[in-house]
Amino acid sequence: MISCADFMAEIGNYLEGDAAVEVRHQLEQHLAHCVTCQVVVDSSKKTIQIVTDSGSFDLPDPDLKPIASEIMNKIRKEHGKT
């Protein structure tokens, strides 16, 4: 039976669904009886979901137009357009 340290060494692949079948089987055996690792897995999955759904660092619409215009002005200037 693997230890919590072993589990934590493989948790990245486990969360990504990349763990080999045999390794995954061992990890799940460990998870079945280890509440700490269950909590870490569950909360890590929820962390990823919350981050993905957060819409963080979105550029506000009012900021977009002036930036796009400035870029286009520079491009047109470079190409001798007005």
């Binding site: 700490t36 909590v39 909360s43 890590s44 979901q49 919350i50 981050v51 491009i75 047109r76």
Partner: protein
């Protein structure tokens, strides 16, 4: 209920006022979509034009049609909402029971309004099934019968009705013609205008799914509905956007491969009446993306029901498609490797990129508008500073323009652009913050992570805060991560790049990227835990 935005809609929302005025409250079906207010507003406008505004049918007659259709489809959510609505409008429970048991509502008005009500039923039933919304009220008993369908061809009038009206301007401007389906509704310009509004809000935006992805969802939904009209229309629109008709035919027949497969499988299942939200979650689709997939499927169902009811002739030659069947669903769900010469999605930017290369410099502005959010997020992730990110964003787009000839199309344009932005950001970071290096090649893989926060999280942590609060919380904590972890998290969990693309953009080996991503995620987990743990939960042993 699926989590697509528990936040309340803006108090100034017109949609809120429409629903409150006509239902007395805001049904869960619409509250569940509040992460995309543009969609809810467009749906409210369409509900208003079809159901709430005065036409030759009374509201009770129209709501009765919706109830009968919802009951015929066995859709508990919609049946419960319609039952309660009609009850409040004064319809007796005896009559309501007749309607839910298959008794057709008696109407004596133009069939167009009847078809519109049936199409609306199709729309909300698909939305409710897709979103897995709990009913607002206890559902009435429903018969165990097959889905009711509008009889085809009951209306064939006004096919040439005044396509010059302002309601048609949208279609002429964006499609270059007015499809027969909308011409056939010339007697209801307010409805056509609301339909155009929903199409614009849902299908012509790029902030969740791409336009191409949504058009493919429409195509698949039409194929599963065996709707020749819709299939010919969406095939033609995809062809105009650069997808070969043969590819459209193959996808319509259920032969789907490529990165959009999970999305299109979902649309196929939902068209067949089954919602598999978990599969999209597993494939890392965001809430707004899932919501758009559901809404696009519902819109296809709406238009298909309307077309069948009105008996509208196709605008284009029907496609010779072998209709997908239930067997295709099981095939779709199997993880079968496909040969690499199978369909590879056409880069939606390729046409615009080629236009710029051919000398149409102004077309580059479209690329800026489409991708500025992605570029900005990437740069904030690297630089950790919004002002720096805005500045670096200009540099990135200028570099992309200058090197556009070097873009060879091996990756999608958006991926290529993110690589340029990443390099621009990394260069700036090295110049401005030499101490915060991304290049440390320390023994990351050997670092031992020991979780300190080991209290169980609440089952539904996203319900604890509004979307604005969550966003603030995530942004402040992502900013606190060391740069090398922060950028890995931003590229994978916010930009949703694949591991391979994120590693390539950063010039890292895949194992290094994976290690940094894991460390970033676990550090974030530690930082977020105090906000999401169950109250009074025990510390795990």
């Amino acid at each position: 209920m699926g989590d697509f935005g528990e936040i309340p809609l803006d108090a100034s929302s017109v949609a809120l006022a429409v629903f409150r005025e006509n239902y007395g409250f805001v049904p869960r079906l619409y509250r569940a979509q509040s992460s995309l207010p543009r969609l809810v507003e467009a749906e409210a406008a369409l509900a208003s034009a079809i159901l709430f505004q005065h036409t030759t049918l009374t509201r009770i007659e129209k709501e009765s049609i919706v109830l009968a259709e919802a009951a015929g489809r066995g859709n508990k959510y919609s049946a419960a909402l319609q039952w309660q609505t009609l009850l409040l409008l004064g319809v007796s429970t005896e009559r309501l029971a007749q309607l839910t048991s298959g008794d057709s509502p008696a109407v004596s008005a133009p069939a167009l309004d009847q078809c519109l009500a049936a199409a609306w039923a199709s729309f909300i039933c698909t939305l409710a099934a897709g979103l897995c919304v709990d009913p607002d009220f206890a559902p009435p008993p429903l018969p165990a019968c097959a889905a009711a369908r509008a009889a085809p061809g009951i209306y064939r009038g006004e096919m040439n009705g005044s396509p010059d009206g302002s309601a048609f301007a949208f279609f002429r401007e964006h499609l270059g013609f007015v499809p027969n389906l909308f011409r056939a509704q010339a007697a209801r310009p307010a409805v056509v205008e609301a339909e155009a509004g929903l199409i614009a809000s849902l299908l012509m935006t790029e902030d969740a799914l791409t336009i191409r992805q949504k058009e493919l969802v429409m195509l698949v939904a039409c194929a599963w509905d065996r709707n020749e009209y819709g299939l010919a229309l969406w095939s033609e629109l995809l062809r105009r956007a650069g997808m070969p008709l043969e590819t459209c035919d193959r996808i319509a027949a259920g032969d789907i491969a490529g990165p959009d497969k999970p999305l299109l499988d979902f649309a196929a299942r939902l068209s067949a009446g089954e919602s598999d939200l978990a599969s999209l979650r597993e494939h890392r689709c965001t809430g707004p993306q899932i919501l758009e997939a559901i809404a696009a499927t519902a819109l296809a169902k709406f238009l298909n029901t309307l077309q069948i009811g009105l008996g509208v002739a196709p605008d284009f030659e029907p496609r010779p498609v072998a209709w997908p069947s239930v067997e295709n669903i099981s095939n779709l769900s199997a993880e079968q490797p496909r040969p690499t010469d199978e369909w590879v999605p056409v880069d939606p930017d390729l046409e615009t990129v080629n236009a710029v290369r051919s000398g149409n410099i102004d077309a580059f502005e479209q690329l800026i508008e489409r991708h500025s959010r992605r570029v900005y997020r990437t740069l904030v992730g690297i630089l950790g500073d919004p002002e720096d990110a805005r500045d670096a964003m200009q540099d990135s787009f200028l570099k992309a323009f200058q090197h556009l000839e070097n873009f060879q199309g091996r990756a999608k344009f958006s991926t290529w652009l993110v690589s340029i932005a990443t390099n621009t950001g990394l260069q700036r970071l090295r110049e401005r913050k030499p101490l915060e290096s991304l290049d440390e090649s320390g023994p990351e893989a050997e670092e031992t992570f020991r979780p300190r926060q080991i209290r169980a999280w609440t089952d539904d942590p996203e319900q604890l805060y509004s979307q604005a609060e969550r966003r603030k919380l995530i942004e402040s904590n992502v900013m606190k991560l060391p740069a090398k972890y922060r950028i890995a998290v931003v590229l994978r969990d916010l930009e949703l790049l694949s591991t391979e693309d994120a590693a390539a953009a950063l010039g890292l080996e895949i194992p290094t990227l994976k290690t940094r991503l894991l460390r970033g995620r676990l550090m974030l987990r530690e930082a977020l835990a105090p906000h999401f743990t169950r109250r009074g939960s025990e510390v795990a042993n």
